[in-house]
Symmetry: C2
Subunit: 608 residues, 2 copies
Amino acid sequence: MGLNQVEKILPGARWLRGYTAQFFISDLIAGITVGLTVLPQGLAYSTLAGLDPQYGLYSAFIGGVVYALLGGCREVTIGPTALLALMTSRHTGLGGVSGPHLAVLLCFLSGLVELLMAFLRLGALVDLISLPVTVGFTSATALIIGASQLKGLLGIQGSSGDSGFLSTISYVISKFHELSPTDALLGVGSITILLILRKLKDIKTPENASNERKFFGGLLWLISTARNAILVLFSSLVAYHAHQNGQMPFILTGKVRPGLPEMHLPPFETSFPLSNGTVVEMGFIDMVSELGSSIALVPIIAVLGNVAISKAFGGTGVDATQELIALSLSNIIGSFFSSIPVTGSFSRSAVNHASGVRTPIGGIYTGALVLFSLGFLTPYFPYMPRAALSAVIISAVIFMIEYEVVKPLWRCSRRELLTVALTLILSLCVSVEIGLISGVFLDVAFLVQRTARPVLTFDHCETESRVEYMMVKPRHSLLCFPAVEHVRNGINRAIQVREKFTNLIVFDCRNVQELDYTAAKGIGSLKKELENRSIHLILLGPSDDVKLVLKGSLKGNNVQHVDNDNELDNIFQELTSHRNELKEIVAPLLEQKNDDDITIMNATSIRK
Amino acid sequence: MGLNQVEKILPGARWLRGYTAQFFISDLIAGITVGLTVLPQGLAYSTLAGLDPQYGLYSAFIGGVVYALLGGCREVTIGPTALLALMTSRHTGLGGVSGPHLAVLLCFLSGLVELLMAFLRLGALVDLISLPVTVGFTSATALIIGASQLKGLLGIQGSSGDSGFLSTISYVISKFHELSPTDALLGVGSITILLILRKLKDIKTPENASNERKFFGGLLWLISTARNAILVLFSSLVAYHAHQNGQMPFILTGKVRPGLPEMHLPPFETSFPLSNGTVVEMGFIDMVSELGSSIALVPIIAVLGNVAISKAFGGTGVDATQELIALSLSNIIGSFFSSIPVTGSFSRSAVNHASGVRTPIGGIYTGALVLFSLGFLTPYFPYMPRAALSAVIISAVIFMIEYEVVKPLWRCSRRELLTVALTLILSLCVSVEIGLISGVFLDVAFLVQRTARPVLTFDHCETESRVEYMMVKPRHSLLCFPAVEHVRNGINRAIQVREKFTNLIVFDCRNVQELDYTAAKGIGSLKKELENRSIHLILLGPSDDVKLVLKGSLKGNNVQHVDNDNELDNIFQELTSHRNELKEIVAPLLEQKNDDDITIMNATSIRK
């Protein structure tokens, strides 16, 4: 079996073509740098998800390996993210310790749903999420995550009993006097240090600098990139040292299960004690119904994140379906190793890119580093101060708050600010799911409103042979069911207020690309309605598609159409030469209209 | 206070202007003819709604009076309809006799919701209901109503315990051997007679016929129009006669409360015995939550029906808001007289029209006839055979099944057949509400899909000065968030497969009427992406609105645009004269692209 055939099954195999020592070294450096980021983030995000710290690391190694085998974009790194951890946290708090089982099952089911999305080509669903919704959603998530870390940051004990944004904030405010000074100092200090270290990498070394200067520049960059790991390591050392001297200045992370995760099926049943001591048994169906909408929303959010990253770094060469399969298998296989839901991390992918990664194989080195930590470093994890982990999370998420879009939106599209606001407020006050869905719903409603209310222009025109007519032109290219009434009313109003009398109306279809049955029927009955008032309706330049729909829908009652101005002129001349005759025929019809069945016929065809 | 001022408050007062004796006679004849239709229909529809027959009549007199005072279209008659009776029936079956209270409260609340719709201009919501959805929905309703009457028609006793279409049909089939021959004979015979009588009115009397012939023609028309009343009267007489002789050949309607309805507040609490004898007490909140989605759906269906009729008969002169207020007050005031939800009836409005009604005052005469029947005829109502009432309903609803739209839809727009099918099947198998909502949802999804996947055309063009470029033209006028990815992918694919090399791309915006923030950002990042491959993107003829959004969204990164072909030529000449210089600058940039931050910058702006 040649490499070509292998590549059909494992697209990642192509990375092995010409995998030189230089590539290996680049990937190794990038992999380790990403590892130094994912270690503290993984530990922090798993506490954010309401789980013991090791679960963040369990989630951080499979993604890299799977993506190396299946992925198409070298920069992407898959692992735990703040957003998915937050969404997972809703299912880990039941009765205190319901924890890992529901989270791991969610990971497995998310993978399955992503696989389904890949096969049904449902990845396009993320197209429905506009930038304003994304902005509102991620900003709200950042605020919620930030708020959830305030307690840890300030060393406040206890729980508000509700993970909502408002109740978390008010709990922190009410307990502010109970904060632990040492933890608060460590927390606030850590954030300050992290933000300063983050700035370091913006210091540019000039091209023509000395070698020493360049080395120093490189060192600064490395410190800046590994700042989370350095901070956690350093604060843990302090805590360890204090502990050896019998002191406990900080609230620590607590016990961590040592060693590698065991491989077993994802949990399809679980039991956990409630706070009052009774043990709850949950079967598969109970667990699925507890997970509820998360089973659909976690995959959509995961895909949204992943698509954004692979698009951002991969440009045009990325196969969306292939990416979806890689993401799906990262979750499915991960769930066998007690992973929580994972997706591409924007911040770590940027680190990966900046570290000069050459192929996704870098992810394997990241995974190896994570496994090494699990194997050998777990005894030291319990000494990590919680305030330091909170600082890691907060200084990561504050850059997700996108206040800077408000100004351009205010300048150019205020309507969309409403979408941002609705998504943000509902995400904060109700839940991120409701916020996201409401934002999409509002956007879609505006889209429908746009097609329902096409702008019509009315012009008084004259043909070359000086026949006057009213030209009605819809500015939109879709003419569908919600617009029928609007167009009909618009034309009727225009007839009432027209400057000069003319009983010829030309409806310009040259821009109309699509017409549905309801619209075709609407045009048919408009024609009849106008005919009853002896006004002539003619369509100008309908496309073949439009003609087909009109012909099929209206049968005998088809509306006259012409393809260009010349034909229009000809038809008008015919009509006006017959006008007097017409008048004689039409006038008595109009007289007896009340006793006539024409109106009823007309009626039933409008909306029977 | 002059007539003009009165008209501002009561638009119906204008009908009194020049209300001649001739108008009076016309309205009286039409009013009584409609009365002869609404009497049997009202009795039948109230049993369809699961209530005693008198409630149908309680619902049949207020609408006419209110509409005479407030309505704007002389043909409209407001009263009980089969569709609303069916929707009401869901709330009358609780424990057997929960009946009238919930139905009357539903009438009151529907009126309030309609008033709200009038003030918020939400009447436009019915624009969302396309013809295919209407067809599927009314056909399904007709089938459900028809099925629900089979038991009565065949004299089958008992109940399937479930009012769904499938369970009703299977109950009738399983009990078919228990049918009562006399009832079945009466039922099937009645339908046959009604259908034949219905045909009578199509017999046209020639214009030049003798007076006798004309009289005979008029008589036939009257018999045809009053066929329901004649049938019910005749079969009741037979039943009454048999009863006097101690025989009971038919299942009868049962006791009817005699006399006019009392006027009192709509019920805000109720109690009723369950089948096991326990009495259920319901407060206002309980009742509202029991009515649930009906509180929104009944008004929407009512408005849909009413709009269709007033549009059909009133043409262009009808004020939709005014109609909505009339409908709303018919329900609100009606609920004080124990009415169930009412709306315009298409069949009775057609009778009204055909009877030569001149003003809505005809509705007052209909109301008077209904009150007269309640006052003096109620002692005879119990003798109405149920099979005859079922026949009245069935022969009314079979014409609501609109199989004839299938052929044109198949010919010209098969996609919309899916909407018909979905609405029909879900209405039959789940519920009419779910069917309706799913149909609207599917239509909206297709509408969004259309804006999400604009057709792009790609042409290889040449300017007058023989500079070659690729012209990209979207066929649609809306360029919004769901389309961004599609356009970007389309252009990238087109670049890959282009016949001749050119690094100039012109995006034709002349048809684009609207652009949102997401699309503007998308164009901005497309431009950067293309620039990285040294391809130039230029917009042709964007409108001022589009320019504004682009400028606001992209700030420094604005995309070059030109207004016509001449400007295009000028720009191209500049570009091509600099091309060699450009190549020298761009080539090395492309070499180092991997280590460059350009891609990240690009990335974050796509979907950060």
